[in-house]
């Protein structure tokens, strides 16, 4: 049994978004939004390929990764097929397959009232959540502030990210 001492509530989550596929970004968006709904502070730090979700020109066109994703059998029920049917990984490389899987996934998400990336980020930002870009990754991908979504709060160095995470009830999550 946990003692009351051990059960100190989560006060803040700082979530690192390092993946740039649709399935890579959503867990972070859902966790951040869910935190705000519980009254927990939330900040999202987009780094490396995760920045794909903040670039104005790419954020609305993120795709489900079908190459090297050996768990795509999970999506089989969306095609009314049993989940136990394996999805051959070579098929993921066929042109159009990723777009098809993305369309399918988006349809299912809409049914559950999960918003598209841009609208989801707006919701998180409206709720008081903070959206940050990683300075080093921006430099590496030759991105400027104006390439990013207008509502990004700031571009941070790793050190600044940790400063933002200060506090005894903060948890850092890597996705």
């Amino acid at each position: 049994m946990n003692t009351p001492e051990d059960r100190r509530p989560v006060k803040k989550v700082c979530i690192i978004v390092s993946r740039g596929s649709l399935d890579g970004i959503y867990p972070a968006l859902i966790m951040a939004n869910g935190a705000r709904m519980e009254g927990i502070e939330a900040s999202l730090f987009f780094t490396f390929f995760g920045l794909n979700g903040l670039v104005k020109k790419t954020m609305d066109a993120m795709k489900v990764s079908t190459v090297g994703n050996s768990a795509l059998n999970m999506a089989m029920p969306m095609l009314r097929l049993p989940m136990t049917i394996p999805f051959p990984t070579w098929m993921g490389a066929i042109p159009g397959v990723s777009a098809f899987a993305t369309g399918l996934m988006k349809k299912e998400m809409e049914k559950l009232d999960i918003p598209p990336v841009r609208e989801f980020l707006e919701m998180i930002s409206d709720s008081g959540g903070k959206i940050f870009g990683c300075k080093l990754a921006m430099d590496m991908f030759k991105l400027k502030r104006e390439d990013l979504w207008e509502r990004v709060d700031d571009i941070l160095t790793v050190g600044q990210f940790y400063e933002d995470a200060a506090g005894s009830g903060t948890h850092i999550l890597f996705t």
């Binding site: 939004n33 869910g34 709904m37 519980e38 009254g39 009232d113 999960i114 919701m123 409206d126 709720s127």
Partner: protein, 103 residues
Amino acid sequence: MKKNLVGNEIDVNEEGYLTDMSHWNQGIAQAIAKEEGIGPLTEAHMKVISYLREQQTKGAPLTIRSMGKSGLVTTKELYDLFPGGPLKKSSKIAGIPKPVGCI
């Protein structure tokens, strides 16, 4: 379990949510709001609360997104009206069950 709210013995669950939404009235709403550190409830709060009760009667699932799209409040206003858990707290004040969704 029973809880005394503005002189009435009301059935609530262990988290303080009313177990029967028909036992709700505005006085009870004010009392719960006070306990939650919200209020006094204004017309803006009441609009959200009546909307929640309507949706609950219809059996419609509640999400922050659907609230934002209702045209009643923006997401930001909802968070400002019910700080510290917009959907959970507003549902509690509205006398409806705790929302179960993740969105």
